[in-house]
Symmetry: C2
Subunit: 323 residues, 2 copies
């Protein structure tokens, strides 16, 4: 039996991952003992033992891994917009707990030398900062222009070094912007990429704070879960010491998103998008990556959608099965 | 009057920097109040107020900046070999104090909004890891293969984010391997690059633990001090948000170093080099960068030596003026 811990298990991706594990197991293994850890959970929640805790509080990470999980998905994080507004909170939640986590796991190994858990960390393309080449390749520097990106990049480095030393077997998955996110808007500056599709599909108005020409790198929530699951099954020797991976996705503009919405739901849906430029969001988004060439991830078997029509289909299948 | 603080002021570079400030000032400004901070100092030591403290002890960094220095050179570090042998000590000295330093400076700014010190951090080309392109350019990823490199890369990210937020005005200087180091060998795995020149020039035997074909990226101690001083004078707006810079140097093989030694000191000196392969050092060194293309640093006015004969001349001028 594999013990699985999902840190941030109450969040959108954490819940979808837990549903996936309950339905399909982990890469074919259905003999799982799943624990979720978060500040709280939605109702109804995905199956699994639920623990409540704030990873920013010292001691929480140590307690969370007391039962020596075999696989740890570390998704616990405050989102980009919040990390930018609240510097203290961003570093306290998004960075320092990674150090405590790695130290706690190292202490377990010191007592039990056979213990070396898989640690799958949800990083982000926010580790990159402008200016960019036409497409960001696998050897492009991480020079983040947000606190969120800096925190993710720091965690990647800590996880890689602890892995190189053999304390854990880690991999950092740099997620594209996840779209279409279900549920309510959150404080992520990227929220509108989902909002302009989700809200109109549900008959509601959505605000578009940036220009139609903005280009971005996207993948569906289903793909994001797929990345994490695939990472847990990878032989990390194949990573050859470079344990932070850019994930596949596809590059599209807001205008292309809107055309796909028109094809899926017609002109009435498109009319629900209200243009309301927001300088703060425009300034964050202008520094975001637009396009990637993810050769390494593709060679390692990671897959994602290839157009926005498919992203909308995935949203409708997964979130609105009655439609 | 500018208040200058040199963290790691008792080390080789710290001492040379302090001598430089005493002799020439800081980019023309001779009205300086210089404080050195370290575990201890050589005798005789460079001029300046001397403070004793261990930055790995919580509270030390906060106390060290209590007088709100205008310029902070942060050189305090354990070397690569020691950081690799002692994981705890490496992270405790090379990483965590940077966080405390930045928090202490941010607290000063909160009380005195006009305060925004220059922070010049001595990073290293150890932030890079193999495989490499023919020459490492300014947008190549940081994927360190040593704890030392990971610690330096983490500090760079923290310093960049605190600078982006306006709490400090930071720059990370990725030093080449500094050669020829004066004094006794230290625990740096790179020590032999200096040892095979310094020891024979002083009539002593030196051990060469790697093959003659090993190629590396070098600059003199005088250049290293020059980089730090130049960085302190740079308008950081010119960095355009990318505050970690690869420094100029030059790429040469061990064989080329030995030929330059032969030209400078003759065959008798060369005969003092004893070949004694060391697998541990061979394995560390094989992952080190060999060559760079440092366009950004050159455009920003950083300069270094251009051949190894010049490096030997600098060593003789600076360390053995009687010869």
């Amino acid at each position: 039996m594999q013990r699985i811990l999902i840190l941030g298990g109450g969040g959108m991706i954490g819940q979808k991952l837990a549903w996936h594990l309950a339905g399909e197991g982990l890469n074919g293994d259905r003999d799982l003992d799943v624990t979720l850890h978060d500040l709280g959970y939605p109702e109804p929640s995905a199956p699994g033992r639920k623990r409540i805790g704030n990873v920013a509080v010292a001691g929480t990470m140590t307690a969370a891994v007391a039962e020596k999980p075999d696989v740890i998905f570390h998704l616990a994080s405050v989102v980009s917009g919040e990390a930018e507004q609240d510097y203290d909170k961003g570093w306290a939640v998004n960075m320092h707990p990674m150090w405590e986590l790695l130290e706690a796991l190292r202490a377990h190994q010191a007592a039990d030398p056979g213990y070396c858990p898989k640690v799958i960390f949800s990083s982000s393309i926010a580790v990159f900062g402008a200016p960019y080449p036409e497409a960001i390749g696998d050897t492009f520097l991480s020079a983040p222009l947000s606190s969120y990106g800096a925190q993710k990049a720091v965690c990647e480095l800590m996880l890689s070094d602890a892995s190189r030393k053999g304390f854990v077997d880690g991999i950092s998955i740099r997620l594209p912007t996840v779209c279409v996110r279900p549920g309510k808007p959150n404080k992520a500056a990227s929220g509108f990429f989902s909002g302009i599709i989700r809200e109109p599909l549900n008959g509601k108005e959505a605000v578009l704070p940036v220009d139609d020409s903005v280009r971005h790198w996207l993948a569906s929530p289903r793909s994001a879960v797929g990345f994490l699951v695939h990472a847990a099954g990878l032989d990390s020797a194949r990573l050859e010491g470079r344990r932070a991976l850019n994930m596949p996705g596809f590059s599209c503009t807001i205008a292309e998103q809107i055309e796909a919405l028109r094809r899926a739901a017609g002109e009435d849906a498109v009319k629900l998008i209200r243009r309301e430029p927001d300088e703060a969001i425009i300034n964050i988004v202008k520094n975001w990556p637009r396009n990637f060439q993810t050769d390494r991830a593709l060679a390692l078997g990671f897959t994602a959608e290839s157009d926005f029509d498919e992203i909308i289909r995935v949203y409708i299948e997964d979130e609105r099965p009655g439609c």
